[in-house]
Subunit: 139 residues, 2 copies
DNA sequence: GTTCTTGCAAAATATTTGCAAGACG
DNA sequence: CGTCTTGCAAATATTTTGCAAGAAC
């Protein structure tokens, strides 16, 4: 799967900004912030364009957004896009990395009578193994 | 339990802003945003004072913060303060209400080897029973 | 060529910081 | 009275909107 297929299958125009974002995210091993994505892109895009691109890609369920604390936003490819299940995310408070814990399915909690569940977000915070090591070679 | 006891037990100065916030939150049936709390307070406080008060109360584990989306922040009393367990939250996409689901304990997921978990946030999004009713008398 | 997207400017919103005045204990 | 908190101003950061120029199809 590549960015062109993704955009075509959603009837979205193939613009270099969208292609770039999707390409970066398809190969990313962790969730990335707007700035982290920008650094990995070749072209230079206005921030407004980024916001609008993310919005479009989210609305088409191509990317999903993980909000760590207020103002710490990261993106990852929607698990459905790669056949994965909804999953938990891990946030390392030391290196600010967000990892998709694809092996941890999300529990289906019992809601009060008459409530309808549409999405579930499970965010686990703590410290990753790299940062817990005696001499982490990690910023 | 009242706001004075809470502040004293944490060696925090009793200021009217802090007392007001805690009083409001102790009687709140749902998580409240900064604006919702301000509307329920008698006095008028600068926004900076609110931010600093929330920060202090969070640091002392008196309140906890629920981030729905980026830019949608709500507060609730720390469950430990009332003897409750860590729990899930429900966000209604129609009326923007955040409910503490105190009866839904948070699962303890298996993290990868070497990872340390310190906090877990489980946010369920959907529609509450009031908003799903045929003629909701709810804004 | 029509429609959608981009970039720029500007507005709107959210958050943080410095500092002097004031309140707490 | 020494320390912490407040309010104001201003800086910083984030997000949204309008609009004309440009790209996609």
């Amino acid at each position: 799967m590549n960015s062109i297929e993704v955009l075509n299958s959603h009837n979205l125009k193939r613009t270099s900004c969208r292609e770039g974002i999707i390409d970066v995210m398809l190969t990313a091993k962790e969730a990335l912030s707007e700035n982290e994505i920008r650094d990995k892109l070749l072209g230079n895009y206005d921030r407004t364009t980024f916001y609008r691109s993310f919005k479009t890609l989210e609305e088409h369920h191509i990317l999903h957004r993980i909000v760590v604390d207020n103002l710490k936003v990261k993106y990852a490819v929607n698990p459905a896009l790669t056949g994965a299940q909804a999953h938990a995310h891990f946030y390392c408070k030391e290196c600010n990395t967000v990892l998709c814990l694809t092996h941890i399915p999300i529990q289906n909690p019992l809601l009060p009578q008459g409530y309808l569940q549409t999405e579930t977000e499970l965010l686990i915070k703590g410290y990753c193994s790299r940062c817990l090591k005696p001499n982490p070679h990690h910023e």
